[in-house]
């Protein structure tokens, strides 16, 4: 069975790019526009093997989303990677405290994305 990934980003272009890379790598990809959307999509939905989320989003930002997900039993130990820019390093700390597994610095290329995911994804 293929691995499932949830991509949360308000930018359709970013979502497309991450989804494209992950789909090619054999993932079944789910997309959400922002935190709230993501929370409602995972409620009672399929279990995710990994979550990749942007931080700056309307409705509910990435930090809030990570906190919300960690409260759910299905996401207690799920790897959650945040997409962040180099200049937003203080966000990294906030993300870690919220329970993020790791981060990917923008800009990245598909190779970096897949390598980082491999790093945190349990076999």
């Amino acid at each position: 069975m293929s691995k499932t990934a949830l991509i949360v980003d308000d930018s359709p272009t970013m979502r497309q790019m991450v989804a494209f890379t992950l789909t090619n790598a054999g993932f079944t990809v789910f997309e959400a526009e922002h935190g709230k959307d993501a929370v409602s999509k995972v409620a009672g939905g399929p279990k995710m093997d990994i979550v990749v989320t942007d931080l700056n989003m309307p409705e509910m930002d990435g930090i809030e989303l990570i906190k919300e997900l960690r409260k759910l039993s299905a996401f207690k130990f799920t790897p959650i990677l945040m997409l962040t820019t180099e200049s937003a390093l203080e966000k990294k700390q906030a993300g870690k405290e919220a329970g993020a597994t790791g981060w990917i610095m923008k800009p990245f290329n598909p190779d970096v994305l897949l390598k980082t995911i491999a790093k945190v994804l349990p076999a």
């Binding site: 930018s11 272009t13 970013m14 960690r70 200049s87 945190v120 349990p122």
Partner: protein, 739 residues
């Protein structure tokens, strides 16, 4: 030396390049959000939610542009974003100066985006000037002007020697390791990818009694030996996500230690050389380096740069060329630039709601079913099945029509996109002209063809400029005339029949009849004896070179433009009309077809030929009485329609055809109207109404007076579509045209 131009770096070493179009579309939307937001922010400087929205859009542009290697955009947006961040945190307040700077930066960002899209040169000076303005406004030292390097590098790097080394790694992970979704096994797996693991020792000393143990807490630590040809950085990269929270020691156990110093020294050397590089690897301009090293101040540099002469100026001073020659060359350059730009941006895409496409696919499915039923019926047709056949034909017609409507609706987009530029324009115009203007937009949701929307932007802009500059009075003048101090410009769009109406209305002084008349007399457009009516005077402002403005301002008033407005609108098959009341204001009404490709037509017969008359222009059809007809010298034939005399055009004469009737009393007269003028045309018979697809005459043949285009009729023959305006012209001349 300042180089003025610099091509954006396209460093697309990855698969993401295919998403570039999507990026530009999205970035365009974000820019619109930023600009709209900033305009609103000027009115409500305290609105934090608004600032958040603007910030998010700017942030999105920054993040995504970096993904495509548009470092210019990413860096500039970063500066913009930093200022926005200070504003939303309340560390800086939104002053008119700040708002203005932000708006100008948005413009700059737009042009950077255009440059990236078309691959043309960027205006490096403007970018640099605004960048320093943005930095200054943040109240931060100028030293931070240096540009961050963007790293897109792999995670593993080979040690400089390439020989394998043995490292001893001792690692005590943070207690919350598991709670963040991290698994110690993962780290060993990664380390294993680097080389050979040996002697993995687990320290269980911190493990509490089973009863006191929290299964979600990590109590363990490890000591590992790793033999690898990768360097220390590669090992640290494995622990990237926990390195700050772990106790991690990596010791090089390899016997000869001298090489490890080399490995350590080289990255330092790297950072030093990095300071004099810009993000795209090009050396920094001399001035930047001087400022950074503190030799000169930013102000001195800017002054020096301002003194820098353009090459044209130097050549003129050396009397090698004349200023006119330089101006001509510059104009040529601008033309080439804009030509290159329009070429690039012409390949437009359209975003379509997937629901629209799904519906379309459904319909096509139904069409295929109907078609197969018909061909089945045709293969073994018997006369008694005629009713079934007819029923199927009706179905086919319904599906075809529905598909046509759906396909057309794909091209329909709300006009709001074309209106979006006006709040900013009006704001700038009002500051420039010292007038107080409020803009009221309505009917933004009205949909029309994408091509039409793209083409009406410029004419609308001109009309709005015209209203702001000529139509509206200064605040003092308005107060003197008992009008509210703030003038209003209204833009409205609505459907009217099969057309779209767009009105640009101001509550200004109205058109000045006497001035226009006087100007028209001096230009010889009319003569004193004509005694023109108001309705004949107003359209004079659409004549080329016509301007009554007392002084030419840089907003408008050069007399070029109104004629271009009219020409542009007419080339879209639309019309412009004017309504004006002295001291009350002027309203320009643009009427445009919903789409350029299909019209509703009435098929008429002249002799054995079929012609199409645009349905919109038909008022009525009559069978005239013989006594209603008159011939007037110089005006041709006239027909009395309920007391009004209209010119009558015998179409068979115009198009040189053999008609069935030459006596108007036996034929049928169609009363056509366009732009408020009416004409009667004589045809043999009305055949019926149908939608026709317009095929251009100019593209396939050449322009023929009185013909707007051609179409393929139901029986496969070609039918011509009447150009009602052209027919009016013919009637006005009172003569038939020999074809």
């Amino acid at each position: 030396m300042h180089d003025g131009t610099r091509t954006p770096g396209f460093r697309m070493s990855n698969d993401f390049a295919q998403f570039q179009d999507a990026f530009f579309e999205e970035a365009g939307e974000h820019l619109a959000v930023v600009e709209e937001g900033l305009l609103e922010l000027e009115q409500h400087p305290e609105d934090v939610e608004l600032l958040n929205k603007i910030f998010r859009s700017a942030h999105s542009i920054k993040g995504t542009s970096g993904m495509f290697g548009f470092t210019d955009i990413a860096q500039f947006t970063h500066k913009l974003e930093t200022l926005l961040d200070l504003l939303r945190n309340g560390q800086r307040v939104v002053t008119p100066q700040v708002a203005d700077l932000l708006l100008r930066s948005t413009d700059c960002l737009k042009s950077l985006m255009e440059a990236a899209k078309s691959g043309s040169a960027i205006d490096a000076e403007t970018v640099q000037r605004l960048t320093s303005e943005l930095v200054v406004s943040q109240g931060v030292g100028l030293g931070v002007l240096g540009i961050e390097k963007t790293k897109v590098s792999g995670l593993n790097s080979v040690s400089p020697t390439g020989r394998s080394r043995v490292y001893s790694i001792s690692w005590s992970p943070p207690a919350w390791l598991l709670q963040r979704g991290l698994d110690p096994l993962q780290f060993f797996k990664e380390l294993h990818n680097l080389g050979t693991l040996s002697q993995v020792a687990m320290d269980t000393s911190k493990l509490p009694d089973l009863g006191a143990m929290d299964p979600e807490i990590c109590y363990l630590s490890w000591t590992i030996q790793l033999e690898t040809n990768k360097d220390r950085k590669a090992i640290e990269a494995v622990f990237e996500f926990v390195i700050e929270d772990s106790i991690l020691q990596i010791e090089d156990m390899t016997v000869s230690n001298s090489e490890s110093h080399v490995a350590k020294a080289s990255p330092q050397h790297d950072t030093q050389s990095r300071e004099v590089e810009t993000g795209d690897g090009l050396p920094k301009p001399l001035g930047e380096i001087l400022v950074e090293s503190g030799v000169v101040s930013r102000e001195t540099l800017d002054q020096a740069l301002a003194q820098q002469k353009k090459v044209g100026q130097i050549l003129v001073e050396q009397h090698v060329v004349t200023p006119q020659q330089v101006e001509q060359a510059l104009q040529k350059q601008r033309q080439q630039e804009s030509a290159a730009q329009s070429k690039k941006t012409d390949t437009a895409s359209i975003r379509v709601d997937t629901a629209k496409i799904d519906k379309l696919i459904n319909l096509v499915g139904e069409l295929v079913i109907t078609q197969s039923m018909l061909s089945d019926l045709g293969s073994r047709f018997e006369m008694q099945q005629l009713p079934v056949l007819l029923e199927r034909m009706v179905e086919l017609e319904r599906h075809t029509r529905e598909i046509q409507e759906r396909v057309m609706s794909i091209r329909m987009v709300p006009i709001g996109a074309a209106f979006a530029r006006f709040p900013r324009l009006v704001r700038d115009l009002s500051t420039k002209a010292g007038k107080k203007i409020q803009l009221v937009l309505s009917g933004e949701e009205t949909e029309l063809d994408k091509t039409v929307i793209e083409s009406i932007g410029d004419p609308l802009t001109h009309l709005v400029r015209n209203s702001a500059d000529h139509g509206l009075e200064t605040p003092e003048e308005r107060l003197d005339n008992n009008k509210p101090e703030v003038g209003t410009i209204r833009l409205n769009a609505f459907h009217e029949g099969g057309t779209i109406c767009i009105t640009v209305a101001d509550d200004g002084r109205g058109l000045n009849r006497d001035k226009i008349l006087a100007k028209a007399l001096t230009q010889g457009l009319i003569s004193e004896s004509d005694k023109p009516t108001d309705d004949q005077i107003w359209p004079l402002i659409f004549k080329p070179g016509f301007s009554t403005a007392e002084k030419v301002t840089d907003i408008s008033g050069r007399g070029v433009g109104m004629d271009v407005v009219k020409r542009n609108i007419e080339s879209l098959g639309g019309t412009v009309s004017i309504k004006t009341v002295k001291e009350k204001g002027t309203t320009f009404t643009l009427k445009l077809p919903l789409t350029l490709a299909i019209i509703d037509g009435m098929t008429v017969r002249i002799g054995r030929e079929a012609y199409i008359v645009p349905l919109l222009s038909i008022l009525e059809s009559i069978q005239p009485k013989r006594e209603a007809m008159k011939t007037v010298v110089g005006k041709g034939e006239l027909i009395n329609v309920r007391g009004t005399f209209l010119s009558m055009v015998r179409l068979y004469e115009v198009f040189n055809l053999q008609s069935e009737f030459t006596d108007p009393a036996k034929s049928i007269l169609l009363i056509l109207e366009t732009e408020g003028e009416r004409v009667a045309v004589m045809v043999d018979e009305i055949l019926g109404q149908q939608q026709v697809v317009i095929k251009s005459m100019e593209q396939n043949f050449h322009k023929v007076e009185g013909i707007a285009g051609a179409t393929i009729l139901g029986d496969g023959t070609v039918g011509f579509i009447l150009d009602v305006r052209g027919i009016l012209e013919i009637a006005r001349r009172g003569e038939a045209m020999a074809v």
